[in-house]
């Protein structure tokens, strides 16, 4: 018996705030003022951001020219896979009505090309692209090896289907003088892609390194001739190639092709005038009922030409403000009711208390003996 008090002490739960669920806590208070102010603040913020976005988007110029049908003859030719090494060029003149200020970027845009199909997006060899083992074509089905069993470099469906149109933009100063707009083909890909994820074999002569390999079946020239002029842009390091290898999220996508080299006439961007795209049409799109176009666009801090972000911000802001107005009105209506019922309940309280008191002192016997 005497032992029990000692046990008591040990069994008594520890009185810590955590164990008693009494940790000091901050309680979220949703008073009308806080809620409304949060709502209004959000609304105002959204509208402000939206306005800024919309205004800045106004300065963006973008031109998209869909050349699938303009170059119908080429498209038709490309329908037949056998004609794949036949040249086909087409020229698309257009007029630039407002000048494009600042950096101008040229994109190609494909419609209906599923770069995100799973089998497709897996069909590449990272070891090969890193030049760790350029003969590693294991994951590249169905473009692992060519007909005579030589491994394809670069292997895989992604590399095989690389966009291979050549697009040249010319500025038509007058009917006789066509100036080729200077374009940069570097600085298109992610820095990390170019310097970490893609590596050429450490050799001066790439063609020797790649000897014994086959080019992808749909390519016109082997990988080591992608850009013979610039060794830093050749082989796996070719930026067009790298850009292509980053698979797009949707079947309609835009990829950066060139950026304007701002010299001479083009120091401020593209001036107003007549231009033409000279396209060597190699990439068949009609075979998968797709389309392709070329896009010229300027950029600002907030992205491209789309109004989407701006509009959505505006919409959200407006809806938030509307909602806060509704809350405010409901609150006012309630307030009228409550001020009345509050008085009632105030009167109510003492009576209730009295009732409770009565109940406490209730006698025991009376009602049972029936």
């Amino acid at each position: 018996m005497e032992l029990i008090p000692e046990q008591n002490l040990s069994r008594l739960p520890e009185n810590s705030a955590l164990k008693q669920q009494m940790l000091p806590a901050h309680k979220l208070k949703f008073s009308i003022t806080t809620v409304l102010s949060i709502y209004i603040a959000t609304g105002v913020f959204c509208i402000a951001v939206g306005t800024i976005l919309l205004f800045s988007a106004k300065n963006i110029r973008e031109i998209e020219i869909n050349y699938t049908n303009i170059c119908a003859n080429c498209a038709e030719m490309r329908e037949n896979a056998l004609n794949f090494d036949k040249e086909c060029t087409c020229s698309i003149p257009f007029h630039l009505q407002e000048k494009m200020k600042g950096d101008v970027y040229m994109y190609y845009k494909l419609y209906g090309f599923y770069q995100n199909v799973q089998q497709y997006s897996l069909s590449r060899s990272n070891r090969q692209l890193l030049s760790k083992d350029i003969w590693d074509v294991q994951d590249c089905a169905p473009f692992k090896v060519s007909h005579n069993d030589t491994p394809i470099v670069p292997c895989g469906a992604i590399a095989n289907s690389m966009f291979n149109d050549t697009i040249i933009l010319s500025y038509i100063l007058n009917s006789s003088i066509h100036i080729r707009v200077p374009m940069l083909k570097n600085g298109l890909a992610w820095w990390t892609d170019k310097y970490v994820k893609f590596r050429n074999p450490n050799a001066i002569n790439l063609s020797n390194e790649f000897a014994g390999s086959a080019k992808p079946p749909f390519w016109r020239k082997p990988v080591y001739e992608l850009d013979s002029d610039d060794p830093g842009n050749n082989g796996f390091l070719n930026e067009d190639f790298i850009v292509w290898m980053r698979t797009a999220a949707f079947p309609t996508f835009k990829k950066l092709y060139r950026r304007l080299y701002r010299v001479q006439y083009f120091i401020e961007g593209l001036p107003v005038g007549n231009y033409s795209f000279n396209i060597s049409y190699n990439f068949p799109v009609t075979r998968f009922q797709g389309e392709k176009s070329v896009v010229l666009s300027t950029l600002i801090w907030s992205g491209g030409s789309s109004l989407f972000l701006g509009l959505t911000y505006m919409m959200t802001g407006l809806l938030t403000l509307l909602a806060s107005a509704v809350i405010w009105i409901i609150y006012l209506m309630k307030k009228k009711n409550t001020s009345m019922s509050l008085q009632e309940s105030m009167q109510d309280l003492p009576c209730r208390k009295a009732e409770v008191d009565n109940a406490v002192s209730e006698p025991k016997v009376s009602a049972v003996s029936q």
Partner: protein, 1145 residues
Amino acid sequence: MDCSLVRTLVRRYCAGEENWVDSRTIYVGHKEPPPGAEAYIPQRYPDNRIVSSKYTFWNFIPKNLFEQFRRIANFYFLIIFLVQLIIDTPTSPVTSGLPLFFVITVTAIKQGYEDWLRHKADNAMNQCPVHFIQHGKLVRKQSRKLRVGDIVMVKEDETFPCDLIFLSSNRADGTCHVTTASLDGESSHKTHYAVQDTKGFHTEEDVDGLHATIECEQPQPDLYKFVGRINVYNDLNDPVVRPLGSENLLLRGATLKNTEKIFGVAIYTGMETKMALNYQSKSQKRSAVEKSMNVFLVVYLCILISKALINTVLKYVWQSEPFRDEPWYNQKTESERQRNLFLRAFTDFLAFMVLFNYIIPVSMYVTVEMQKFLGSYFISWDEDMFDEETGEGPLVNTSDLNEELGQVEYIFTDKTGTLTENNMAFKECCIEGHVYVPHVICNGQVLPDSSGIDMIDSSPGVSGREREELFFRAICLCHTVQVKEDDPEDTIDGPRKSPDSKSCVYISSSPDEVALVEGVQRLGFTYLRLKDNYMEILNRENDIERFELLEVLSFDSVRRRMSVIVKSATGEIYLFCKGADSSIFPRVIEGKVDQVRCRVERNAVEGLRTLCVAYKRLIPEEYEAACNLLQAAKVALQDREKKLAEAYEHIEKDLILLGATAVEDRLQEKAADTIEALQKAGIKVWVLTGDKMETAAATCYACKLFRRSTQLLELTTKKIEEQSLHDVLFELSKTVLRCSGSLTRDTFSGLSTDMHDYGLIIDGAALSLIMKPREDGSSSSNYRELFLEICRNCSAVLCCRMAPLQKAQIVKLIKFSKEHPITLAVGDGANDVSMILEAHVGIGVIGKEGRQAARNSDYAIPKFKHLKKMLLVHGHFYYIRISELVQYFFYKNVCFIFPQFLYQFFCGFSQQTLYDTAYLTLYNISFTSLPILLYSLMEQHVSIEVLKRDPTLYRDIAKNALLRWRVFIYWTFLGVFDALVFFFGAYFMFENTTVTSNGQIMTTNINMMFGNWTFGTLVFTVMVFTVTLKLALDTHYWTWINHFVIWGSLLFYVVFSLLWGGIIWPFLSYQRMYYVFIHMLSSGPAWLGITLLVTVSLLPDVLKKVLCRQLWPTATERTQARNKCLSVEQPTVFMLSQTSSGLSF
């Protein structure tokens, strides 16, 4: 040890079916009976090994895996994992294998550890040494080698190694004391008796010379029943046959006390001992939340399957155009082309299943289990529920039912020991109409001058005085109280000392008896001890009177009385009988019945427990006859109970009434307050008691179950005798239903049921009439329905005169009535166990009548008042927490998987994953797991104080309010909406905007094209933020832990993503995430987009919440608002409205 002992018995040994006969015959000491005895069928018995472990070293892995994968959820995940392994799926098997492996391993380790403990306990049990008698010598052997028929010697404080028939002890009277604390929790010493003919065998040699056989029934689990017979063979005579009853049986698990050593013969061994048989594995109770969770799971499974089906079908529709099926840029391999279309479709279906399987996350099970397990500690830690007096805190025996505590609709409570203290105080006695009140009634404490008594009536005459003394002697003698002798020397001097020197402590399994004996001690008669079958009492003149105890007709709950037959020093034989008034009065032929009855009824109304005392003088012939009758009944092997009952019936008649006693059983502290609070909380409280109606009704009034305004409806035997059951029921239902229209409207608004407040009183007999299936079949269910209908409309129901099984019956009746309400049973005694096991939640009050109830309960509390905090605070919290946990888990996985589903429409249904493998795996494991776990442990939507103060808040969560279909669908749609926002928000950003990165971070002014992984990462980032912030908005109780965990997990996500994308991980075959996150963050529009999308997905939910709070606030929300009113004192408080409450989400 105690606990592990029980755990050792987890598994019931399945004895072989062979040799299944009704009784078994045991040769004591393996000695063949002399020829001529009946031929016995030899039987095989198991050895004394106890096997409670589930696994052996060898079969652990296969068996444990098998057990684990029998659970549907685990099996589902296994299937998904296997599918991922076998077919070429988009997601790596690691994503589902890793969590599954984790869960399985943790469970296996836990179960393995538990089994290892069981093995250890088993070994300790099986190897502990036991003393045998072999050829007249004492031999030590391991316990497991013990066989049926062995003669065993047990010393003091040892536990019995198996079930033994008590042959002899070192005490001359052949008794021994035993505690069964580890068996049924009763710590009092019980006396067992050796077989009469063998009690003289004190040495090993003597015992070895014993030649006897024992016939007894086959083992059965009832601890208190045993029927057997011993045949002792002497050299010449016919064998002596003696009956064996449970008083001769020493059970395994019990401990020998106060006796130096005993000899016994093993009759049940190993897994056949009563203890082993008695370990009943409690049936698993499942909470309502778990059930809803399973329903939701099925819904999600259907969603999952339909998603996979839709995608598969669409895939083939989409591919029906050849330019899509196999465009030039994505040709198929030869093997792919040649595969069977249906096989391909099936594989695709499986692949889609795998892709979307995260919608039912493994981690939900883990989190729910953890929440339950960890959360249950809050109950046992709770200081408010700790009882200083007894040093007991609440016990949690299961953590599966925490949230069920917040859903209780019916409480079935025992009266004695639960509502009342079960701390009896002798209040008064009435002898032939004269009332005696001891001066001091102080919880059994005796004050020095307590020998005086108050006589309320005039002093009785001489004959009255005789009667009075006879009455006191009767109380002194008619009981089964034991005296615990603290100090042997003290007791020798005892008689010389004043009676109130506390030399003795009375111990009994029934507190009433102790109170009576103590009470009568204060009135001058002290019971000293039972010695050599002589009961010694100290009378008023300080003389010792000795009575020889001839027979004890022990108490049972059917007879509701007990008797002793004693022989006084003068040679007169008395029968003293003590029992409930209803069982005594019909057997009385003499005495002032009317006065006593009047007094008894008055006392009963005041809530006192009354007992009547009667006596009868037996002439020796009568005694002989009675003795023979008893002996005959006791020897009977079959129907012994019945025969005994008949014998008792025969002996206990023609009594002379002496008087009545009244013992007060005080209400437990704050019992009334608790009941009131529970009723306000919308819980119906039923009192189920074995007590008589008046006493029980008085208690009900005292604890405010019935109010003054309550109109009592009686459905008792008395009433049924007058009218037929049919009429009574219909009449009652008419009364009740007349006002039910107004009543049902009132039920929501709490207290205002004063007008038509009905209380029903029903007794056991009436109940069994209602429950009894009728011959004509059809009407029986009608009665039941009618009865339920009446009960539903009564605010309180009192069921008195209930047998334990009837209690369970009532619980069952309500449990399976058409609303399927959640029931809770609370009780403290062994008689409440059945109802505790039956109810959805069983709560044991750690009381005085042993710990059986506490052990069989799901939760045990020290006092009834703790029920209030248990339900109103803990239950409420647990329910809020777990329902949010469940809903949130489904919500966040809808958010997670629905974009994945949408993405299939944009990637040609090619099972392309939207998120990287690491994100797929870690989303549920680490990015979003801790905040919800902590929320589900810490959340307090209103403070503890408020919940205690305002019990009506409990109604807000009644009927599983937070897991109804409406709420579930709301959450699911919220998830779908958010998913749509994430996906299409990001889609339009990608589609129309050149998502660029400004050149400040990069060296040159580059703008980049973002691929599919960036898209996925963008969606994922928005999602992680939205989902976490959604929880943040739902959190009302922000402790530093919440802050830490919520902001911490967001930070963790960012840091992880930076690391995951910032390093070339050598173990990965692909580097598709390399710098993706960093590039995304370096782009301005991405930031703008993330902010916008998070805002857009959160706003509607906030708006809905605000509007609902304003327009249809629940009571809880109003309280939240009111608290602010008190604390902030701003008139512009939200939602201080008095509109009638509507139920909203």
